[in-house]
Amino acid sequence: MTDPLLVVDGLTVEFYSGSGWEKVVDSVSFTVGRGETLGLVGESGSGKSVTCMALTALIPMPPGRISAGSVRLDGRELVGLNPKELESVRGAQVANIFQEPMTSLNPAFTVGEQIAEMVRRHQKIDRKAAWARAVEMLDRVGIPNPARRAKEYPHQFSGGMRQRVMIAMAVSCEPKLLIADEPTTALDVTIQAQVLELLKDMQTEFGMSVVFITHDLGVVAQVCDRVVVLYGGRVMEQSGIDDLYYRPVHPYTEGLLTAMPQIGPRSGRLASIPGSTPVPSSLPAGCAFGPRCPYVIDECRSGPVPLTELGGGRASRCVRVHDLTLVGTK
């Protein structure tokens, strides 16, 4: 296997909460191969967004800080870069798209100006060429009449079209890595299907790697090659896409899978994981998922549970990983 594009190792992010530093992301490690799509999955508060923001130091510091760990992109360490160096990474090598494009776009400038600005920031080209590039990118992401639409403001676009604009901007400098944080969560399902298809096309065209953050296991099944499941800021399971759905190795993954409502025939009551997600200040001493886990034993509560490597790129943070047979999607 060729060396991965992104290597995240022991990434730990803390936030100051008035009563001390709270670990929101705790020793998270994963890799992203070239051209690969890695899914980061978890419920609200699992730390998935903070992990991804921390990759390019987008978390507000203070109150946040990266207290340990390393993030290597193509062999280059990103943790500890100064603001100027970071600016040359963001946008050019790593691009972000978020759930709500309206908060990422400036309402006072036309979308063409915003894409052109991005291109000019990272490439030595003149205004005219940057504008031409902006129009070309709008065309590539499927916006009709790109030359005219480039002169319009964000509010004149629909939600789906705005997300297309964000994608155009994100890929305009041909980044190596695209971080997509719930990019289709706010969109209608037919528009979501279009945007997911577009993301896949762009990935093939530009040979990008993608980190895809989502809570929707339906979307994961459609777009990801491998998945990291986060809970309480820790990696619970790491698996290839088919292994994750059909042969999960962590009780939390099993819980998430059985809770997904299906479109098929109605079947009794919906499954749910008892309790609710923990907050960083109230994490238990042992396994973070212990208090909600149907398979919990005393050993789970006694101390931190290590991540067990299972070979073939799989891993599980469960003390019972070798004696449990978990149920996946049928």
């Binding site: 099944a221 459609q222 994981i273």
Partner: protein, 347 residues
Amino acid sequence: MNEPATTGASGGDVLLSIEDLRVTFRRRRTDRPVRAVNGVSFTLDRGETIGVVGESGSGKSTIARAVMRLVPAERGRAVLDGRDLLTLGGADLRNARKDVQMVFQDPYSSMNPSMVVADIIGEPLEVQAGIKGAARDKRVAELLDNVGLSSRHLQRYPYEFSGGQRQRIAIARALANRPKLVILDEAVSALDVSTQNQIINLLEDLQHGTGVSFLFIAHDLAVVRHIARRTVVLYLGRVMEEGPSERIFEKPAHPYSEALLSAVPIPNPAVQRQRSRVVLSGEPPDPSNPPPGCPFAARCTYVMDICRTAMPEPTPVDGGGIVACHLQTSGPALASRTLSALSVRPG
């Protein structure tokens, strides 16, 4: 032809009958009117749940708001137990409000942050039913218990609860005066899937216990499939298809329902890879400038000439419900059959 409004859903006891409802918005007098809801009819049986699905701008929330009298209806009726909610006034309206309650997507913005739970749930009891003092407190405790919270939560503020717990409080408040109908507008959409399932199970239990009817508005089709016995599919303010959920989800009769179902991601990688999908191009038309004919025509795989000029009439479908599509009348004569009967797929 059967009038969709009076066929009476599944032959049961009709609680709510929405007939030819139309709601029009105009930002300024000079603006083109936006028909957010355009001639919508359906019925809801007592003790039943009807799901209303559609994308943004389909009018699903506007229907709810019109029934609640939060926005004025231009035309039509919303008859609850023999009384038209849209024409009531004064004391009659106040009385009727007890019977219809609403739960919104974000309980945080629908609760006064400076009130404790006891008052949030107790206020409708005092205002609408005049229940005060010890009787009020007893009923509040009972309601909290019904939704899986306990009386130790009585003196807490909304911010002290998780999203799922807050939604339980909103449900307790909605049920305080034993309404006949609760409108749930994307009530579980903001919750994590596990919490969402807990709330749905709770709603089903409560319905079982009290016989309340639910008008369940959601964009998540899997959730609607689970909770609703009947489903209404809306597009640009019009009913595209209506009928038993089982029939609609397994054998949709309208190309829009088919496309909507096919766009839902399935949490199963192998199924996902093999699936043939209808990916719709384009977006819904501008509601202030709707096309003549069927609003879905521009995105429809099966579009015919007539679709661009005339709005199809509602037609009954085999297996229950109605569909508004020219394929049933002027096309390859589906004539009350579902789309699966159409073997040749154009395009």
